[in-house]
Assembly symmetry: C2
């Protein structure tokens, strides 16, 4: 029993150090004993921290069930990498022990011939479970569903259904069971609790809930995740185009999907294309490819700053001190814009805000912008004076910063909502994009204010 | 049965428009009929889109159970706001119908006297369930757990346990049941499936899993969420300091917590303090307060750019054209830095990276930085030439951008990991902070390169 006062991360980290030390000393058996006593999630966590040689050392002599558990809890790409380093016969024994959906994920990451060869080595029953799963693209309902489910016939008595469930003995505990007609068409859902509460001789169709929410096998995984989160579902049936039950998505798969999607959003928001694999498994060249496009695009946009500066060359030449404030002004504008877009993008993602609220969000941010601009403008004015600038220049800086922050907040609120309107991912209106847009326009505002106040 | 081809968001949006139109026309009953036919999650979604008057109009005459369902599916603050607009007697009827943990959340958001008055209006049984929940701070295990659970005695026979579960009839389907001794100390966990598979006369303690993971009632909600996600738990028992079972956290609460935490991370990453409430419920003044601190801090940091520019005043005065490239160079550096930190921060959050990997991450990013810098440097060199700058200046710009990007990637990888090392939230190393840091140091790099190449 574990009531964690130290966090599980700390505990796992301590265990990792111990196993690492034992492996270094060559005490492999001892390391294996410690590992085997842990929960699979922890085994996988520790395993992925070890280097390649240590992993192979540890795998020697572990039972296929244990390795299957570990691979199931690793990220797909990492599991596939380890699988490739094992002899085919041993890997087949391990795949035999795995959840069909996890085994299919690994096979899907291997070369086609290799995967075919392995499927031949599997027991017929397991092969039959895995093969259909391989047909579906990774990021669809079909790609994340499991084929380990038990469908109940609509005319089954409750007691017979319970007997079937008892005999089925799946790897996991399932709470919900789906009801089908004789051709496999999805009719409803029934919970284990409903079954044990029902009169033994009631037909399943009389206790099931016919309002079952399902998804098509080709539905996008993110849509499935949102659906399950929205309706608080722990299991989601997957059907083919004729509404025949073909699989079930479980909540633990969905938490992984939600995590993936957030990762993509955050990377986009940081101004790069999302990586396809965990960070350390992505080569620098791949990272380069994911980032250079955005960097170039922003570079081109940023070049307008040069155009603006040239346009005001005369002003800058007359009062060189104006240029000292350039980074400060456009930096503050970019920061205010980034604050705004991050808030708006997230509010859209969690459903607090949508296109219809654009006007309200805009008014909100204009107000915030005016307030923030006022605060920052006063600070900047005083700072400029204390730096020995003239009152005119200080006034220019103060007014410019007020206008720039207000402007940054306005476009920071409108652009993500415009993206939603155009059905573009609002996370593309990243912090870097905002700073870049505000840089050129901010310079224009600043130097126009300067021209006016300083009569240049 | 719904197999959604159109997304549920689209369907809900259509229904919202219909209900909105009916309410405008004064056809309240019709609007209510449509609403009542929907699932609670959808009812809440539509409800929160309506304005205050429409909400009140719709609530008139709805059954307390329906309103309870709606309030349960709204965000806490929104539910509390609506609750406050209802007469106390009616609100009490509604709270009576709600899950105790959700009812407690609403009461916790009201004024203490108001909450006390409402508790007195509730049935004794419900009051007894809710009162203890009010003692725990919102963001702890105690704050998100429910007191609706059924503890099984260790010496109960399986058949008696099943009978107890059957008679209990909770609002939700529960799969896992927790086993306690006569003093309520947590001993283990048993699933409904295990109970129906067991021999009727087996004692619960002989089929339960004694390796049950639990949390203390004062544990942080984020730690609970991470624990449940890590171990794929759908229910997490909460115990007091003497290991007595006091509540259960369910997976649907955890998805909300994970969402909240991601929202905080994204807002921090955008360079502001996270908001406490949904965006449109936060007043501009509150938003102002959450943002001004960071904006000022970044402003102070950004002032170093002024210092650097003054230091190189002579260089800038001699070659005015150099200043045209300033925003372009520091902008690109800031963008590269923001790309890096966002990737690193997220890799840390999902556990792909930790402090021990700092050296690997650093080498990774140096390589990426050198490559990106090279690409951007060449582009910048050519662009400067085509803008009519001299070869020397173009070379200065190209080399400077190469050095700045490499530098930005290095500190972009190290700072978040340093934050982790110092036990600070790495999301504080936001995009704006990176741009700001890179601005001053980037200027220094640029003007030093200029001084060297142009022999100034």
């Amino acid at each position: 029993m574990t009531t964690s006062q130290t966090t599980f991360e700390e505990r796992v980290d301590r265990l990792y150090r111990r196993i690492h030390t034992l492996l270094e000393r060559g005490e492999t058996r001892k390391a294996q004993t410690i590992l085997q006593a842990l929960l699979p999630a922890d085994q996988a966590e520790i395993f992925s921290e070890l280097d390649d040689d240590e992993q192979l050392q540890l795998l020697q002599g572990l039972a296929p069930e244990t390795i299957a558990d570990i691979l199931e809890h690793l990220e797909d790409e990492e599991a596939a990498e380890i699988a490739q380093r094992l002899p085919p016969e041993r890997l087949a024994d391990i795949l035999d022990e795995m959840d069909p959906d996890e085994a299919a994920d690994i096979l899907g990451d291997l070369e086609p011939q290799e995967a075919d060869h392995l499927l031949d080595l599997l027991s017929d029953e397991v092969e039959a479970e895995i093969r259909p799963l391989l047909l579906h693209p990774d990021e669809t309902a079909g790609g994340i569903m499991t084929s380990e489910y038990l469908a109940l016939g609509q005319h089954m008595w409750a007691e017979k259904a319970l007997k079937a469930i008892r005999e089925w003995s799946p790897d996991h505990d399932y709470l919900y069971y789906f009801v089908v007609d004789k051709d496999g068409h999805l009719l409803g859902v029934v919970s284990l609790l409903q079954l044990i509460k029902a009169e033994p001789k009631t037909e399943v169709k009389d206790i099931m809930d016919p309002n079952v929410i399902s998804v098509r096998v080709d539905a996008d995984q993110e849509a499935c995740a949102k659906l399950m989160a929205h309706y608080d579902l722990t299991a989601l049936p997957v059907v083919d185009e004729e509404n025949r039950l073909v699989g079930v998505i479980t909540i633990d798969d969905i938490i992984d999907v939600l995590e993936e999607e957030v990762t993509e959003d955050i990377q986009r928001f940081g101004g790069s294309e999302p990586l396809d694999k965990p960070y350390l498994l992505t080569s620098p060249l791949e990272v380069f490819r994911k980032r250079i496009g955005w960097l170039l695009l922003l570079f081109v946009t940023e070049m307008f700053t040069g155009t603006v500066l040239r346009h005001f060359e005369g002003v800058l030449a007359q009062v060189v001190a104006l240029s000292f404030y350039i980074p400060l002004l456009i930096g503050t504008g970019g920061n205010a814009g980034s604050q705004t877009t991050s808030t708006i993008i997230r509010a859209v993602a969690v459903g607090d805000l949508d296109v219809d609220d654009a006007w309200r969000a805009f008014r909100h941010e204009i107000t915030v912008g005016v307030l923030l601009g006022l605060g920052m403008g006063i600070v900047a004015f005083l700072r400029a004076l204390s730096w020995g600038s003239s009152v005119d220049i200080a006034l220019t800086v103060g007014i410019a910063i007020w206008a720039i922050v207000t402007w940054a907040n306005s476009i920071g609120s409108l652009l993500p909502l415009l993206a939603v309107k155009l059905k573009i991912d609002p996370a593309l209106v990243s912090g870097p994009l905002m700073s870049t847009l505000v840089d050129a326009t901010g310079l224009f505002i600043y130097l126009s204010v300067a021209k006016f106040i300083l009569h240049l």
